[in-house]
């Protein structure tokens, strides 16, 4: 168990280090941010000073070493645009993004699993066909368009819900539904197919032969088996939702990490982009790690 954890921690560190390296070079190779940040008619001295201030006058490899040294300390420099600590800006936005992603994840699980279970149990019935149709449609609708449509219907036409902004539960509704749609479809589909597999198993026949009621067979004996692969999918989906949140946050002006990243990318505010990327890679690898642990915990056949 301990061996496994240590091995995974080392792997995680390597991956994050490589990820940072890749993004650093990508961004630096794409051009000098000074040109973009200063007005074109600024005097050359001002350019010089700006470069010095942000370390852009150093050779690339020295910039890289400095960058790695600093990022280990959690220092990604100051935001070029705002002048405050880049990491600070990122950390400030993380709760909002997490709120959105976690609510969407919870919503998808709560909706999708019953749909999948019922679909599988009533295979080929009308309910099943409706469920399958819904999942196929749900997977084909891009989330940003769904967001626009929801805004049009609920904010513009019926004036029921706010079109954007953050702060209250009311504001959370539309972005959550938008973000959750794809996951609902994905989970429902997966739950259905996994349940269909499980319901064919010999041990389900054993449970029937013991006189177990159908509900209990479905919700206890079959679902727990289906949940093991499903759990992996669900926890990995959190990462996907964090990525998808970038777009949804822009659509709904949600004050999260995604919007900050978009703004920073548009303005070539690289310290903020790097800090944001660092955080997302960190969260992503952490989720992977937790998923593996979780899998080992729920599956009695695996002993680490």
């Amino acid at each position: 168990m301990l061996d496994f954890i240590i091995k995974r921690v080392i792997q995680t560190v390597i991956v994050i280090f490589l990820a940072l390296t890749v993004v650093f070079f990508l961004i630096r190779l794409s051009g000098d941010p000074t040109v973009l940040m200063l007005p074109p008619d600024a005097p050359p001295e001002q350019y010089e000073e700006f470069r010095k201030q942000h370390g852009f006058d150093q050779p690339l490899h020295i910039q890289y070493v400095d960058f790695i040294k600093n990022s280990v300390k959690g220092d990604f420099g100051d935001s070029i645009r705002m002048g405050t600590s880049a990491l600070g800006l990122v950390v400030e936005r993380i709760p909002a993004t997490f709120q959105l992603a976690l609510t969407a994840l919870t919503l998808s699980v709560v909706i999708a699993i019953p749909i999948g279970v019922i679909s599988a149990y009533k295979r080929n019935s009308l309910t099943d066909r409706l469920g399958v149709g819904f999942t196929i449609l749900g997977q084909a609708i891009p989330n940003f368009w769904l967001g626009l449509m929801l805004i049009y219907v609920f904010s513009v036409s019926f004036k029921m819900l706010p079109a954007g902004g953050g702060g209250s539960m009311i504001h959370l509704i539309l972005p959550t539904v938008t973000l959750a749609m794809h996951s609902v479809a994905k989970f429902a589909r997966f739950t259905r197919s996994t349940m269909l597999d499980v319901l064919r198993k010999d041990y389900i026949r054993t449970a029937k032969a013991s006189g177990t009621p159908t509900n209990k067979i479905l919700m206890k004996y079959a679902l727990k088996n289906a949940l093991i692969p499903l759990l992996t999918l669900i926890s990995l989906e959190l990462g996907t939702l964090l990525g998808g949140a970038v777009i949804v946050e822009v659509v709904f002006s949600w004050p999260g990490l995604g919007r900050l990243l978009m703004d920073s990318l548009l303005n070539r505010d690289f310290p903020v982009v790097l800090a944001g990327v660092f955080f997302i890679a960190l969260i992503y690898t952490f989720i992977n790690f937790v998923t593996d642990m979780l899998y080992a915990v729920v599956n009695p056949q695996i002993r680490l």
């Binding site: 010999d202 054993t206 032969a209 013991s210 006189g211 727990k224 088996n225 729920v298 056949q301």
Partner: protein, 346 residues
């Protein structure tokens, strides 16, 4: 005799499966009776419909495709075929239990043995949690599971195949059923374990007076523990009698073939006899006698008309034209008969 109620009575049972075209009849005109405490063997090659018969008795035919298209099944004189699922559920694991061929996959991998064993008790008794545990440990001891107090906290994958089959048997026996159906209970196990499991089934049968319906392709197993035998071929019973008569005087050519193809422990035969060909698929049944395509004694008539079921005294019935025509020839050769005797006495 006639006033006594048999425990299980199957009358003229047809089981069919829905297909894209017409429903396909898998079992046809099957009748048998089983008294309390009796053991019946149902023998046949794979595809003969023996497992389907057992699932029909359990009310576990695959849904929604399988159904009983004719006939009835009675348990203790009560008609159980066509019962509502809810009523049937009260019988399963309670009055009728079943153990399956595959001990490796028949237990749920993500629940402990104790969890799974407490299920029939939860469904059919009002025992408290503590009483359930005591009962489970008791039954595990009777089926010969060592250190049952620990085993109940373990998962199926931690146990061997033989152990798992013992667990399956204890699962079936928990509610002390009147009828135990065992579908190829030893096929997936090693030879030494096979003997132990058969011995266990026999002991349960003797001690609790539980009736046993044993589904197998192996006549050796039948010889070991059964009182009577039904030989099935292509969905029908072709010969039905008590075990001694079957081995002493098999009448149907198919039964004779099965007996001849038994490996003999005592005598080394040069080669094993085998019946050429396979059981025909339900879609491709030959007209007349279904066995006619593989039968060495097949006559013209066999290919045209279905044979009648002939009674040849003391509860021995056979469906074969050979015996409808006053048994003028003795089909069994002496040499084979000797081997059969050896097989039984050994």
């Amino acid at each position: 005799m006639s006033t006594k109620q048999p425990l299980l009575e199957i009358r003229n049972l047809d089981v069919s499966f829905r297909t894209q075209n017409d429903p396909l009849r898998i079992v046809h005109g099957l009748s048998l009776t089983l008294e309390q405490g009796e053991t019946i063997g149902i023998v046949g090659e794979s595809g003969s419909g023996k497992s389907v018969t057992s699932l029909a008795v359990m009310g576990l035919l695959p849904q929604p495709t399988g159904f009983i298209s004719n006939g009835e099944i009675l348990l203790d004189g009560r008609k159980i075929s066509g019962l509502k699922e809810k009523e049937m559920r009260k019988l399963r694991g309670n009055e009728i239990s079943m153990i399956f061929q595959e001990p490796m996959t028949s237990l749920n991998p993500v629940f402990t043995i104790g969890d799974q064993l407490s299920e029939p008790l939860k469904q059919h008794t009002k025992l408290s949690k503590k009483e359930r545990k005591a009962r489970i440990i008791e039954i595990l001891k009777t089926v010969g599971i060592p250190r049952p107090e620990q085993i109940i906290h373990e998962y199926p994958h931690q146990l061997s195949g033989g152990m798992r089959q013992r667990i399956m048997i204890s699962l079936a026996m928990l509610a002390e059923p009147k009828l135990l159906i065992a579908d190829e209970p030893t096929t997936a196990l090693d030879v030494t374990i096979q003997a132990q499991i058969l011995d266990l089934i026999r002991r349960i049968n003797k001690k609790k007076n539980t009736s046993v319906m044993l589904i197998t392709h192996d006549l050796g197993v039948v010889a070991e523990i059964c009182d009577k035998v039904a030989v099935m071929y292509a969905g029908e019973i072709v010969e039905y009698t008590d075990v001694r008569t079957l081995f002493d005087k098999p009448l149907h050519p198919y039964t004779q073939g099965l007996i001849a193809s038994m490996p003999n422990m005592n005598e080394r035969k040069g080669e094993l006899h085998s019946i050429p060909g396979n059981v025909p698929r339900p879609t491709e049944l030959p007209t007349g006698c279904h066995f006619s395509t593989r039968c060495t004694f097949a006559m013209d008539r066999c290919h045209k008309e279905a044979p009648p079921t002939i009674s040849s005294g003391n509860n021995h019935t056979v469906s074969c034209w050979l015996h409808a025509i006053e048994q003028k020839e003795e089909p069994l050769e002496m040499e084979e008969e000797n081997n059969v005797r050896h097989a039984i006495t050994s």
